[in-house]
């Protein structure tokens, strides 16, 4: 429904300013603002697939090509639902968790700014506007990583800020080059203009700038060093947001949107993405196995799981560009996108669980924990569900998306046997992930209860509700693959990418099927 589109930016942006204005005097109100803003956004996001087709919205009523336009298609709908679902859960969790910190209202204000930035990135149909929203979300996240102002947090935030700004500058440079070639900033117009020009050295250079820029934002392996510091240092609900949705909205979403719908895919680009994906998967998971800090371990797993997503999308891009079987490219994209959605849910749940454990015990070191299973039943339930999901154990959601990716690589291997390598890596990484999470469960919840932890209690109800809320999605999201439900959410998302340059026609027509 078209009328809903501007609300995704207005609600969090207005909420951010109102929160800081009103809560200056009435501090208790900040919780209510946070809940209402994110809850309202979640309702709006769920309304999108319910009310049917997507559309475009011209900001300020300026016609296409002059003003900025917002575009909703299948892929943005899916991303909006994920972002607002996770941010709603993180807000509920924050009500209790953030009482440890002073200045809770500043936290909510920054949180809503970050959500506004991410929603904007997902919605916008204008290259420079993409950069602006990307920077809104990034600056808010730099501040949130440093929120506790302790030594480690400041150091992590500075590292993140330096690498993040370099990434943003490269993206801006690429946008400038695109404007120089196409003479427009509108994605649809650029796409139309570029399709007339054969690929040359300059478009390769622009593509390389985008890959490095968005690769830094998405923490793909050669560009990942900021992530394992930044994500654990943030407060737990923010870690959940950063790992759960920020790297996806700013990195993966923007990268795929720019390549599939604006520049157009090429076999070379597909191969680069597949290599980055395999590198991220394997290096991320092997670095994760040796970690003893709960949140740091989760952060390395984020890198590894993003590898799966990039692998699926890269395989899809390669197959589309090479003119391979449509079935294979469809399956690969479906796997990538579905894993992106699933990873958002289970990884944010895992970070919330780590926050709950830290809230109760005051430590993040796995070796110092143990025997919490009777003290913290809700957290134990949620952690078990999320761990089994990320490890890809059936009936949980992670299993289905990994299965689709593995099937896609096997089908691609029928087309060209080289792709069996991908199948091998996908299965290997999945196995190592399982081992790593068995370690987590063993050291936190099983074993002997330490004497120092005799007095601990289960975390407050708000935190429990947030965790159970996400755990339900972890168990249930597998049903999205049922054909009737797939037509609602996943198939439109795949079509939006596989349609490629048809994006421009749809935007100009103002109607997105």
């Amino acid at each position: 429904m078209k009328e809903l589109i501007p609300l995704f930016v207005i609600i969090p942006l207005g909420g951010a300013f109102l929160t800081i204005l009103v809560s200056w005097k009435f501090k208790r109100l900040s919780d209510i603002f946070g809940i209402f803003a994110t809850g309202g956004l979640l309702v709006c996001a769920i309304m999108l697939p319910v009310t049917g087709t997507g559309g475009t919205y011209n900001v300020g009523g300026w016609p296409l090509g002059i003003g900025i336009n917002f575009v909703i298609d299948g892929f943005s709908t899916l991303m909006l639902i994920i972002i607002n679902l996770v941010s709603f859960a993180a807000t509920i969790f924050s009500i209790s968790y953030m009482t440890q910190y002073s200045a809770k209202y500043k936290y909510y204000s920054l949180f809503l700014l970050m959500v506004a930035g991410m929603n904007g990135v997902v919605l916008t149909g204008d290259m420079f506007n993409l950069f602006v929203f990307l920077e809104i979300a990034s600056i808010a996240s730099y501040a949130l990583v440093a929120f506790g102002c302790e030594q480690e947090e400041l150091e992590a935030s500075f590292k993140y800020l330096v690498l993040g700004s370099i990434g943003s500058t490269l993206i801006l440079l690429a946008v400038a080059f695109l404007y120089g070639i196409a003479g427009s900033l509108n994605m649809a117009a650029i796409s139309t203009a570029l399709s007339g020009i054969p690929g040359n050295l300059l478009t390769m250079f622009i593509a390389a700038l985008f890959i490095v820029g968005f690769g830094i934002k998405a923490a793909l392996v050669p560009f990942h060093p900021w992530l394992p510091d930044a994500h654990p240092s943030a407060p737990a609900p923010i870690s959940a947001m950063l790992s759960g949705v920020l790297i996806k909205a700013l990195g993966i979403y923007a990268l795929t949107r720019v390549f599939f719908n604006v520049i157009g895919v090429s076999p070379f680009f597909g191969i680069v993405l597949m290599i980055l994906g395999v590198l991220s998967m394997t290096i991320g998971v092997f670095l994760a196995v040796g970690q003893w800090d709960f949140k740091r371990l989760l952060a390395y797993h984020s890198i590894s799981q993003m590898g799966y997503v990039v692998l699926g999308i890269g395989l899809g891009a390669y197959m589309i560009a090479e003119g391979g079987p449509v079935l294979v490219s469809g399956f690969a994209l479906l796997g990538g996108i579905f894993h992106l959605a699933n990873h958002a849910v289970f990884k944010s749940l895992l970070f919330l669980c780590s926050g709950s454990v830290q809230y109760a015990t005051g430590t993040r070191q796995l070796k110092e924990m143990g025997g919490l299973k009777e003290k913290m039943p809700v957290t134990r339930f949620a952690t078990t569900v999320a761990s089994l999901s990320i490890a890809g154990v059936p009936p949980f959601n992670g299993f289905f998306s990994k299965l689709v990716i593995v099937i896609a690589t096997i089908m691609a291997a029928l087309y060209n046997p080289v792709f069996l390598v991908l199948t091998f890596f996908a299965l290997l990484v999945s196995f190592v992930t399982l081992v790593s999470f068995l370690k987590v469960l063993r050291y936190t919840f099983l074993g002997m209860l330490k004497d120092t932890f005799r007095q601990i209690k289960e975390s407050p109800a708000a935190m429990g509700i947030a965790m159970v809320f996400l755990a339900v999605f972890c168990i249930g999201m597998g049903i999205l693959l049922v054909p009737q439900l797939r037509e609602v959410l996943l198939d439109p998302a795949v079509d939006a990418l596989a349609g490629g340059l048809k994006y421009a026609e749809n935007v100009v027509a103002g109607y997105i099927p």
Binding site: V132, L161, L172, L185
Partner: protein
């Protein structure tokens, strides 16, 4: 020629941000990179002997002689964003100095692994 200089500023900024040990110098490097990209954007819209894009003497004159106003609008936005990033970076630098008592990145190393 000017484009080469612009590129040189960009590379100097990148070099500075990646290799310097002093965190203030790293921030200066980031700022240099931003400014070179801003300069590049403005130059994209420049034409020789162009006038300011303000419509005073009719549309024909405007179309023939005015420089492209869009990159200038972009640069204004980009400068404001750059201000935000720099302010954030400097704020973190001040806090780091309070906590560690040094600006040297080699001594600010508590995170490992």
């Amino acid at each position: 020629m000017v484009f080469t200089l612009c590129f040189a500023v960009f590379v100097i900024g990148l070099y500075c941000a990646l290799t310097k040990k002093n965190i203030i110098k790293i921030v200066i490097g980031l700022t240099l990179m931003e400014y070179s990209v801003n300069l590049f954007l403005v130059m994209l819209g420049y034409r020789k002997d162009g006038i300011a894009p303000i419509r005073t003497r009719g549309i024909i004159d405007f179309l023939e002689r005015a420089v492209d106003p869009l990159p200038q609008a972009l640069v204004l936005t980009s400068i404001v964003i750059g201000l935000g990033v720099t302010a954030m970076a400097i704020a973190i630098c001040i806090r780091l100095y309070q906590r560690y008592g040094t600006f040297d990145i080699m001594e600010i190393r508590r995170l490992k692994g």
